[in-house]
């Protein structure tokens, strides 16, 4: 019984507190608005300071995010569950002279790897060169000619717009057939009659058996559509100096990537006839390494960029603090009167905090609008998009700036002695 009354009492008290809190916030809000409206020019300038800060920080954030997304899209277009067995690692700490003495990987190594490999894997043997393609009067030079095997379409995640990829027997017989990248196909065969046509690569005639879907650019730089695929055995014939191949393994399923990596390594060691204890004379590369290297660099760029732009937001915050101090000084009497008629410290604190936060939030909103417009313009040259989390974050940051910058002035106002405050001139 006693407990129940106590609980009820506490509940009532609780509601009372909430109601009072609510009233205080509402009132604080009203007074802040009146204060902001009373000094329009001042409020505008303060807001402008915050707007500048928010715009720079948000734009920088958008740019960094865009860069990250472009990179991840490019990487996932190649495939993240793919392992590359190559002579050199993509990133290494070892001195170069140890690496260049490694044996080159050649086609027989690749065939032997396929014979010994897990049958669940898709394996392609690849090499590349730069060649000139001709069809009638059309000439395309600097085309990346990729030598591939029949499973290359699967390992590279290629999809065909028309025709087919080459077959095992075509690779075996090093047939003069080719599959064209989207850009080459469009410039050579604008009417879409590519399949079955002949074109010349260097001085040999090749039959077009397939056309690839458009793949876009890797990291916005390297065009993946300016390519042509031919059987790797055919490419090997065309080379005077044979630079070796890479073995591309799609293991299927990201979960087992680490295990598969070890398995791939074991198979390759067997192919290379390496004794136990001997160091690998090849590297198993994966896009993970690429991503982590990019992340390292991205973090530095993001850190520097956000630091420099953060400085402008900081300056904006200082502006708010300064103006709030002025505001407190000017309204000393008002504070004194409010306190005299019973306003609590908390009420005064809330009033000034709300004033600062309101200015900052308005600044944040305007800043966001400007950023959105700027992003639209920039996105024509650079793959950036505004994201909702970033916008929310920007608003939070601006509100937080207001609260932090406004706290000291508000605290000073709240702690004023009502008697002194009333006497102030």
């Amino acid at each position: 019984m006693n407990l129940l009354t106590q609980l009820r009492k506490r509940e009532r008290l609780c509601f009372k507190w909430i109601r009072i809190g609510h009233i205080e916030v509402c009132e604080g809000h009203r007074i802040s608005w009146a204060a902001i409206r009373a000094n329009k020019l001042r409020a505008t300038l303060t807001t402008l300071g915050i707007v500048i800060g928010i715009v720079t920080v948000t734009l920088m954030g958008t740019a960094i995010q865009g860069l990250n997304r472009a990179f991840l899209e490019s990487v996932s277009a190649i495939g993240t569950d793919v392992l590359y067995i190559q002579k050199h690692p993509w990133f290494h700490d070892e001195p170069w002279w140890k690496l260049i003495k490694r044996r080159e990987i050649y086609l027989p190594d690749g065939r032997s790897f396929i014979r010994n490999a897990n049958p669940a894997w898709h394996i392609a043997l690849q090499s590349a060169g730069i060649r000139t393609l001709r069809h009638g009067k059309n000439v395309a030079s600097g085309v990346v000619l990729i030598g591939n095997t029949e499973e290359g379409a699967i390992t590279d995640g290629l999809s065909l717009k028309a025709g087919r990829y080459f077959t095992a027997s075509e690779v075996e017989g090093s047939r003069p057939v080719c599959v064209l990248g989207a850009d080459i196909a469009r410039s050579f065969f604008p009417n879409g009659d590519a399949i079955g046509s002949k074109l010349r690569i260097d001085d040999t005639s090749f039959e077009v058996i397939g056309v690839l879907e458009k793949r876009g650019k890797f990291l916005g730089l390297e065009n993946l559509d300016n390519t042509a695929h031919i059987p790797v055995t055919r490419l090997a014939r065309g080379f005077v100096f044979w630079p070796g191949i890479r073995i591309v393994v799609r293991v299927g399923g990201l979960s087992a990537l680490e295990d598969s990596k070890e398995e791939v390594r074991g198979v390759m060691r067997k192919v290379r006839r390496l004794a136990p204890g001997e160091a690998d004379d090849f590297s198993v590369n994966s896009t993970e390494a690429l991503i982590s290297a990019f992340n390292r660099m991205g973090r530095i760029i993001a850190g520097v960029g956000l630091f420099i732009t953060g400085l402008s937001l900081f300056v904006g915050g200082i502006g708010i603090m300064n103006i709030m101090f002025v505001s407190v000084t000017e309204r000393t009497r008002e504070i004194g009167i409010r306190k005299a008629v019973g306003a609590k410290r908390r009420a005064i604190l809330i009033q000034f905090l709300i004033e600062a936060a309101t200015i900052c939030l308005i600044g944040g909103l305007i800043g966001l609008a400007i950023t959105a417009a700027a992003t639209l313009i920039i996105s024509r040259f650079f793959p950036v998009t505004m994201s909702v989390p970033l916008a929310v974050l920007a608003l939070l940051v601006s509100a937080l700036t207001g609260v932090i910058a406004g706290f000291l002035p508000a605290w000073r106002a709240a702690r004023m002695n009502p008697v002194d405050a009333l006497r102030a001139e």
Partner: protein, 420 residues
């Protein structure tokens, strides 16, 4: 009369300055916060620019491998964005031969020295005392290269024409390599082994000023010897180095060399050169052009903070004008001109900006040179940006101080006296 006007103006300026300082002293917290804004704004510019300058001067030092007023002639351009086609174009050019160097030496009368150089091989060097990693560069040179590259001989002698003509098995050691191979005494007169061949050390070069990893880790041998042993590896393409007599005849010398080479290589009058002429300056210019966009972008982004600070100043000046309306009224009433009021407030803004700017510059230089400390390179003070930063500061003070000052100056004295 004129002197009197000058005195009056000086007195006015002095008075304005004193009043500005008094006003700042009266509101210490406010002044401090405004100052902090300017400090951060200027810091942002200076710290960015100092860091950029440190990195830039570091790279430029790496690019400056040549001696004074020297340029190189090469088959390949230093930087090319022409892709595989461009590569093919350069690939098809005839190599620059030792014969060409001799022709150039005889015919280019404006050149003080014409040398030829070729990076031959990287391998392992050994002495009876030590052995290196297989990353030592074997450099084939003619005697003139020492002058062209600004190499000085620290001990022993340089290369002689007779060494080159006879293809003698002699070598000059880079400073770091000499220290590594002969840790306990002079290398001169000793014998070293590189790639299985013995060379007598005739001299050791002074340490270079460059900070790079691979610097001074090389040995130089007569180019004739090098070509005999390694020439076929790189199709005997040499880099020619030409030193002009002085800076005045540098451009003429470049043109003369170009003419001699075109004739020697039988380039038709309308055809472009089939070689590339480059110098420290042209490399640095290329590098600067490449990074221009980045540098402009950084300058713009870092100066935004100063803009925000400027707005803060304007705001606080406006407050200051409102608060001191009565004071302005009294000054006007006792005879102060509009000009005096204007000077007073603009001076106040400028003082704020300059003090803040000076502190910001100092902090910025310190902060920016953290990168120098991080990369272990000598620190830099970007004098131009320091000056520019302070000038921008004054401009910010004037621009953002003018409107409040104008507002103050145009107050009606009667109204402002009545103002409460």
């Amino acid at each position: 009369m004129r002197l009197r006007r000058l005195t009056v103006m000086l007195a006015e300026a002095r008075e304005g300055f004193l009043m500005a300082m008094a006003a700042l002293a009266a509101h210490k917290l406010r002044a401090a916060l405004t100052l902090l804004g300017v400090v951060v704004g200027v810091f942002s510019i200076i710290v960015t620019m100092t860091a950029m300058r440190v990195l830039q001067s570091n790279i430029e030092r790496e690019l400056s491998q040549l001696g004074a007023h020297t340029f190189t002639v090469d088959k390949w351009p230093a930087i090319s964005f022409e892709g595989p086609e461009g590569w093919e174009k350069y690939f098809r050019r005839k190599p620059l031969t030792l014969q060409l160097q001799r022709t150039l030496r005889d015919r280019a009368t404006l050149a003080a020295a014409v040398g030829a150089e070729m990076d031959l091989w990287r391998g392992e060097a050994s002495s009876p005392y030590a052995k290196t990693d297989p990353d030592v560069l074997l450099d084939g040179i003619t005697p003139e290269v020492l002058a062209c590259k600004g190499w000085n001989v620290e001990a022993g002698r340089g290369l002689l024409a007779a060494d080159v003509d006879g293809g003698r098995f002699v070598c000059l050691l880079g400073n770091k390599l000499a220290g590594k191979l002969f840790p306990h005494g002079s290398a001169v007169g000793q014998t070293i082994k590189f790639d299985g061949v013995r060379y007598a050390v005739i001299g050791v070069l002074e340490a270079s000023t460059s900070m790079g990893e691979g610097q001074d880790n090389f040995l130089a041998v007569p180019i004739t010897l090098g070509l005999n042993r390694y020439g076929a590896v790189r199709r005997s393409n040499l880099t020619l180095l030409v030193q002009a007599r002085d800076q005045a005849s540098y451009d003429d010398c470049v043109e003369q060399v170009r003419g001699v080479l075109r004739i020697a290589r039988k380039v038709q009058p309308a055809d472009p050169d089939d070689f590339e002429i480059s110098s420290n300056d042209s490399l640095i210019t290329q590098f600067r052009n490449l990074t221009l966009a980045v540098r402009i972008g950084m300058a713009v982004i870092s100066s935004i903070a100063l803009l925000a600070a400027g707005i803060g100043i304007m705001n606080i000046m406006l407050v200051s004008v409102t608060e001191r309306t009565r004071e302005i009224g009294i000054r006007r009433a006792v005879g102060a001109k509009k000009r005096n009021i204007m000077t007073q407030f603009i001076l106040e803004a400028i003082v704020l900006c300059e003090v803040g700017g000076a502190v910001g510059v100092v902090l910025g230089i310190l902060g920016g040179n953290v990168t120098a400390w991080f990369f272990e390179v000598p620190p830099t003070i970007p004098v131009d940006w320091v000056i520019l930063g302070l000038v921008i500061c004054s401009i910010v003070g004037i621009v953002f101080g003018t409107y409040p000052a104008y507002k103050a100056a145009n107050l009606d004295p009667i109204d402002s006296l009545r103002y409460e």
